[in-house]
Symmetry: D4
Subunit: 248 residues, 8 copies
């Protein structure tokens, strides 16, 4: 509610069109629905321009199901659920319509959104083990109706595989670079692309990888410009941001 | 050089329009100029769509001056120099045209670029001590001809100052959030904005701040979507990326 | 035992009211009961003004049960047990009266204390996954007869939910802010409240969260005054301290 | 502004006592003064119940002086300045009335507040090298008119010195425990006191002290209840919070 | 493809020996085979001088089997599989010829390579618990036809055991030193050997070992010259590099 | 073998008492027995003055059993096995005489050594959860025939329990202080004892305890003199060292 | 004061030999002298069996001088001052008798103690750069009248230098091993000595040494028994503890 | 001295050719010269196959000069001095012949060794700021008579500069990759080279670079085989090891 809205209301009160009590209600209308354990943001589609998302980790299957149901009832056509446990699928599927991808652990309650034709988002993954996080990013971007191109297994150990796809990189409107271990993929792509690159460090690796710290620091220190970073294994965050940039 | 270009050249060779030696030259033309201690990327404007930048830290005044001169001679109209030591200004100014801002330690060799009217980039800074990094971002964005709005001293300790500027945030095409200490500004802005937010953690603070680690981790773990992060104190990186997104 | 007490005893010895041996006993009475593996502090209610607590983690069900029994026999009306394994409940319930809350893993042996009317403690939690820690704080505060108000799911990603409760925050005598991920909730509440805020970082999150380090550093570096911090996931410590402050 | 205030205004508008434009002004009156590089919070005394404070580190002497002057002009009687560089004293003293303590690096612009008689705050410091931080806490607490008792050089290496002051500890309404190295002082005091204890880890020490990390972790893991922690070397934060608790 | 190759092709195009389209194919022939989830590098034997390796961790048994089969079909005689889960052995053995060593978790698909006589690689391990990593190095080196001498249980706690083998160390062409805990073995061997020493820190140990960090830092800071380090537990990397050096 | 021994041998060779070959054997006699996967140090009793110990973690039950058998056959009367898995007990007991303590996970193969009367070693443990590590230290010290006094549950949260035992502390010849969480026990004992104190940090605790790092740093930074530290959870190391000091 | 003492006093009160007030005084006699900023422990010689020490770092020259004077006046014959700034020497020398060693930064106020003949303490240092810390240990041990043998530059990079001194190591009653970089010296000596070894990690080194962390972790994880560790660069602590053990 | 040598000596003693005392001398001849503060290893040329090196950091100019003089007198023709302070040059030059390179801070006392023709060592550096470390490696390798090729400013931000030098990389016998920031250069070179690659992380960068930790972890986690790592900024170690490998 901006100043103009407020001025409008005040003028209606002044002119008698609106009683003080009704005005009070209008100004204070709760923009969310309260489930007790969670406050559902039913105006988020308006405020942020996108549908609500359920972060599945740490929630019980009952909580996930109840939140998703409530959203669908509030008029959402589809709800994205991230990091959703495989064991919850049957329980939820019995209660609400659900698409589930077991590699990325992404669920979509309600309708699966249609792909429409926004500029191309390229999702590049360094190794086979990085694919689950890359798919989380890819499915998230597709959920928001983006056109996604996947470039998997293009890590710098066999850098010619990446360079064979230089045209795809040149065509992208935004690129998500997913890599564990030393995370060099983000820097190398950042050095050849002319669009924003979102680095997603993964926890793939062992030893001095320290749960993804290695790739995270590597990407933050990228010597290439135009690279920014999201949290370790945060495929959703990268896909969401890529969609935001793609639609500007 | 993409496949079509290559095919063209090969067809010219086949038809005799081009000798093999001339073709070889065309394919292998060095895209940079070699100064010995630095290889200058004279085709970067083409490849990345932006002018070259000199990262000033760790370089001598002679090196900075020589690289900048060489770029200007190669046809660049203006060259951005970041983290440039204040003591180098006189030396460089005597040799090439230079604008210098001592707060952000940014120098611009050659012409100062004209502001043109791209969508609005908002640069928000939490505290007075974060302003040098914020200005590095702001001047970088302006160097690339973006329209920049500054919101300084809007940290969460006095959050009403931020909320007074909610309209500015709603209007932005991309926002840079600069904050040290606990770095909460990025999350709070990320929660209310509907455009991409680039977090810049600063090393401002003391004790368990650990040189910016606190704000860095905070921003990486932001519970708000649409937030990505660049390196600690990397105002340039944020300004550059913001410009890239703004121009999409 | 302070100097005045000691002087009293000495004067009684001098006047013959007390024999040296009885005096020795009075001065040296062991203020605890020794179970071999644990020394139970039977005078803690006097010394610290509160009943004893059993830290359940790392103890066997037999140890927990024996310590609690021994306390109840020593005259405690109720004993708080924190981080108590769900699998121990049946064993303990068969032996002593026990209330158990499975979300917070808090047990209360003996009588459940009555709520009395001290000033209001507000327990705010950022996300659904932070509720177990928040409940540990809430039940602890209620165990010590405080009036507790819960504000759950008010994290900064949807900051208007928090601001709808600004009156509750203004009314509080002390606030516990429970948050994982970037932990910004403590700073934001610290910026608008005029009472002490106790931050409880939680280990909720993943990746660069590093087991709660992110929220911990964030809260320690809070730019808002009046904020202090307890250990990661230490809901009990926050509830106990809030009770102490509330009763001043 | 709470709902009642708002309802009042709306009723005045309804009754014609207030025009919509005047109502709009009342609701939106900026609660701060804008200096460009800093937004001064002139209503903080009302909102947080205390006077504004200037965090001196990272600010120039001109900035400190301008902010303090502006506050005094806005009606503040005295302004606390923390971590103020010794070299700034002369510059500021020439322009506004200033008290300065070189050990704690605390400045007070305007009148020095009178001590009044609130319950006792005890400031305990482990070693001689911890005194500057302890004094920052003590002077802050005195600035807010608290009654402060200092217990210095009572570290656990000579624990009888602490136990000689057990009566002082028993009398306190809140205790600030300042310690570097292993920071055990907070735990030991926490074990014998029955009031809230605020731990301030200091960066005093060397080697595996890692800039105060050792004392910080030690205090966060305190096995004693009723202990919370502020940032390393944050004497101001502890003094401010102690005052808040003392006045409840 | 180097310049000479390219010139050759161009001359053939010029002379009409080669059509532009065929030339294009020659220049762009994909040097790998695409399985969708993995791009197999069929020219690696040529490019790096060694056969391809499958990093088994994080791959399913189906993926491992499909990649290995595809390589064998492409003409590889044997394929090395590292960190291969014991539970996968039966599945893979039913489909392709497989040798498997359960201590080192190394599998070899296809033929087991014959030992030939290159200079001696010594693999030294500090303790019994370091043997799995040491065997990963030893079997890798043998896979590439090197002559391997094992020196196990020669840690510095019983340093005479090492010195009894001083002749073996003097004869080596390259040494791999595998050690957990304090990792001193690499430094001690580095002090007496006159050939390159490759340190492999292991995660063996507990407490302040921090998952191998202790041995890693120790080896990186070795005061002996000629020592370099690979990742924690990376027996394969050490064996591969030792083979490379041995064959120079 | 020292110079005098060597001179003796050489003189016997010179006088013809000893042939060169026999001399060579004497000088080079292997001071250990080789099991392939482990070299057993049969002269350790002589060299270090104590019996050999098997570090059980990371070894299979077959390895533990074979090493212990071999030692007993070589003439050791008893062999200490640390961190021995509970599940191995039956297997080993069927093959060799074994005493096993399930709390400390210590096994003793062969005869249990008799207690003899060396000066008193005090083992102090802060909390109930620290007892397994404390018992590892205590049983180790008793294995080497020391007189051990246990002081358990004397942490600083109830410091009067410790002070009731001040006479025991004064009588000790060496003290082992076992504590997790903030580890303050080592400093407090170090401040009142006049003998060496060996700190054993434990991994007991949670959150910012970081697997024992908190107690480790705390003990290393102890402001009390005469305190040294062994690895986290290393009860054996402390008991062994205490025995060494006790027997000086 | 133990129970027997207390009983004695009480019996004297009972028999009229002592008035209650005098008894009170006896029980409460302050065991230290208060300088305001420091409480001097004048009974420490009795309680800990050694003279008081001043930790010089972080103290002004005036403070050091005043504390030392006060101790000498209280009857101490000599006072050890550690980590004393070179620039303070002249100031202190003008006021009290002072011996100063600029390499170790150790000062001795009053008389220099005479060497007497306790069992031998060996101080071993790995490199030339570790000598300042080694000398701090050596001079401390000599201050407490121990017989000290120095073995410098015996690091593991040239391990034969150490083995030439195997007899010296065999003769020692306690050994201090001082090493930076990878700190392997402590483990190697621990493997061949049969007496307690005190490791002192130093901050000597660079890069992944991280201010001494490398050597610290290395020593804590020593695979040799009988090794304990003090803080990084804490030569004083090692010398003090070595003296304690030497005199047992 | 190996077994054959020893047997020879013993046989000479047996035959009377050698007296026991002379034999003792032969066996025990000290292989170094003792300067008090340093033991100089005069047989190192024999034992390690290379001349001695002085690590200059932390040594005074007098120490450096005395050690170097002593070595030259012992017959060394030239002595390498690393990390030598610029301010020491004049002092040393007045006393012994010295070559000094101020960029790499390398000094060579005595004769400058002649370049001879061993296989090519390539030293690649990512950025201009990495050159000092790269030069330390290059001059070290040249000191040991290796043929060195420098590839500077070939970081991955402008990866075509690296690929223009693919022939140089293919020709190398060993490659040193020097890089700060994200250190991706080592992985990229490791992916295209078929010879050993030695990674040298540098401390170049800022923020989340954490003094070189970022590049260090990145290189340790390299997904390319054949890469090993030395300490941060350890140009000497890389040059020395490269020389060792080059001469195999």
């Amino acid at each position: 509610m901006n100043k103009d809205d407020l001025k409008n209301i005040l003028e209606q009160v002044s002119s008698g069109e609106l009683s003080p009590d009704d005005a009070l209600l209008k100004i204070n209308t709760e923009p969310y629905k309260d489930l007790g354990f969670a406050k559902i943001d039913t105006q988020r589609g308006v405020r942020k321009g996108t549908a609500e998302v359920i972060y599945g980790a740490g929630k019980t299957k009952e909580q996930i199901c109840e939140i998703a149901s409530s959203m669908l009832e509030s008029g959402e056509r589809s709800v994205l659920i991230t990091k959703m446990d495989r064991d919850f699928v049957d329980y939820v599927k019995e209660r609400i319509p659900l698409f589930y991808d077991s590699m990325s652990k992404i669920g979509i309650a309600g309708e699966k959104p249609k792909k429409s034709e926004f500029g191309k988002i390229v999702i590049a993954a360094a190794g086979t083990s990085d694919i689950p996080v890359a798919e989380e990013a890819a499915l998230t971007a597709e959920f928001y109706s983006n056109n996604v191109v996947r470039l998997y297994d293009v890590g710098v150990a066999g850098i010619h595989r990446l360079f064979d796809n230089v045209d795809t990189i040149a065509d992208a409107k935004v690129i998500v670079a997913v890599a564990g271990m030393e995370g060099a993929l983000a820097s190398v792509i950042g050095g050849i692309a002319s669009c924003p690159v979102i680095g997603v460090p993964t926890s793939v690796g062992y030893g001095a990888n320290f749960g993804g710290l290695s790739a995270l620091l590597s990407m933050l220190n990228s010597c290439a410009s135009g690279v920014s970073v999201v949290n370790i294994d945060n495929g959703f965050g990268a896909g969401y941001l890529a969609s935001m940039i793609n639609k500007i």
